[in-house]
């Protein structure tokens, strides 16, 4: 591409239009969170005339946001750790071994991405209840149930992405490690994983975002004790009022950690996401 004048105009236009498209909601979120309730109930104003920080104080009281935050954090972090670990093992097997059932496994796992959530929502709930009744392991209304569910949701894509990444790492490197006396697991730990770090980071971000943002299953599988932010935020619209300013403040607060984490690691994410596709 040459930077002709035409291209520069094109670029300016694209950046302006898309910049506004992206920014306006963020702007609304930020400024509305600084308005008193009266103001967000009235006609929109570009600039908050009565700046206030009270929504950021009140939001912790209207809804037990702190507890939801803790729940979401624990669920997402633990699900991410396990999902990444399990995906690494599976992707390593798919990438480095030839074995019976390999194709079946890959195809099946990938095709689960097509399953509509509504189809297995209720059955999954029932299975959890039955596990509970027969083994005493409480899966409904606990964080463990959510963790298991969410980590599996991100598995197919993670395995696919990582296997693509592993494939792009020359096998000669593994062999060199093997010659040095490492087993295959040694090769995975010492050669493949370090070389695939961007892919692993990408998968971790993906898993975390999946867990942090899931709504459908959270709406059925959570009780007050393990409720996550994704459903907790709805409670700002109560019997007496819809606290829009607090909703916006809470939305801002729950977004910040994810957005920062994502942006810090975006380079790896970009590389990771495309490794499978680009080949």
């Amino acid at each position: 591409m040459r930077e002709t004048k035409g291209f520069k105009i094109y670029r300016a236009a694209v950046l302006a239009v898309l910049g506004l498209f992206v920014l306006i909601p963020l702007y609304v979120m930020a400024t509305s969170s600084l308005k008193p309730l009266r103001d967000v109930q009235g006609p929109f104003t570009w600039w908050p005339s009565n700046l206030t920080l009270t929504p950021f104080v009140d939001m912790w009281k209207t809804v037990p946001l702190g507890r939801y935050f803790v729940n979401s954090t624990i669920v997402s972090v633990v699900a991410t750790v396990f999902s990444v670990a399990i995906a690494i093992l599976a992707a390593f097997a798919v990438s480095r071994f030839r074995f019976r059932g390999r194709t079946v496994f890959s195809t099946t796992v990938l095709s689960t991405q097509m399953f509509p959530g509504v189809l297995f929502l209720l059955p999954l709930f029932l299975i959890f209840v039955n596990i509970n009744n027969s083994t005493g392991l409480q899966l409904v209304g606990t964080r463990i149930g959510l963790i298991i569910t969410y980590l599996t949701f991100s598995l197919p894509f993670s395995i696919w992405m990582l296997a693509g990444y592993f494939d792009s790492i020359p096998r000669e490197l593994d062999e060199a490690a093997m010659v040095d006396g490492c087993g295959p697991m040694g090769a995975l730990g010492r050669v493949v994983l370090p070389a695939a770090r961007p892919g692993v980071i990408a998968v971790a971000i993906y898993s975390f975002m999946t867990a942090w943002g899931e709504v459908l299953f959270a709406s059925v599988m959570t009780t007050e004790a393990n409720r996550t932010l994704s459903v907790g935020l709805r409670q700002y619209s109560t019997q007496t009022n819809i606290y829009w300013n607090q909703i916006m403040a809470a939305a801002l607060i729950v977004s910040v950690p994810v957005v920062i984490g994502f942006l810090l690691a975006q380079r790896h994410f970009v590389a990771g996401v495309t490794s499978g596709a680009v080949k």
Binding site: V22, I24, M29, F44, I86, R96, L122, M178
Partner: protein
Amino acid sequence: MSVATHEAPAEPAAKPGNTKRGLERRPGLGRWLPYLLLAPAVLLELLIHIIPMLVGIWMSFVKLTKFYIANWSAAPWAGLGNYKVAVDFDNAIGEGLLKSFGVTVAFSLITVALSWVLGMAAAVALQPPFRGRSFVRTLFLVPYALPAYAGILTWNFMLQRDTGIVNHILVDNLGLSTDRPFWLIGSNALISLITVATWKLWTFAFLTLMAGLQSIPRDLYEAASVDGAGNLRQWRNITLPSLRPVNLVLVLVLFLWTFSDFNTPYVLFGTAQPPAGDLITFHIYNASFLTWNFGTGAAMSVLLLIFLMIVTGIYLLVTGRRSRRA
């Protein structure tokens, strides 16, 4: 622990183009190792995806209404009854499903197209380096990084008729209309859905295409420039063909995501979803939970799954690309 008799010896030369070698040939490694590595993933997939889906398929064949849900193993067998209700388009339920399907098709096609166009436009604009490029790229990624419900809730607030920013801009600032249009009810609801879904999705397209662009060797462009090809022609002759593999995967992924999008209608409309915004997963959710007819709901889900599988199958066949590992 010798070479398995029923397993083809993994001779790298046996298949042309097969570069796999090494690990799996080592004697004594145990052919169980790959299975061991897969075990946790397989167990979880069975528990969370496969078995629930089989149970879901079973549910689609029983009369699982409110009279039986407390003791659902006693629900009477319905045979194809649930499916008949779902596809009987002369009947209110079937008609509702068909309409919802139509809305969903329109929604996905437009959303995927828009997301791809915007993502491509931005990726190309950011292809040559310029000051502030990494800042712009970071900014563009924010909607994708934002938790879905946070972004959608904000849009819900923006699309309110009397207090939202959208009408404030259109009516008060730009004066494009004297009436304040509704965005969350009536036929505009579809436009709102598409806008919100695109807002979130186009950045994923952008991300993917941008990475794809990076892998196109620069000398291709230089050679074309020497030949006197303009930017548009370079895009058509170099960029587009080089991105073909990326595009094929991207479009499929975007389609599968949008077609079974639940979050957007659920968070945007709540309990008051308008017919024009009645996306199919949300429709099924309501058919199941609002009217307690889980059997019919399951049948609708199975139909949806079959549809997605057929579309994906045809897509993969037509595009002639099969996943390498699949």
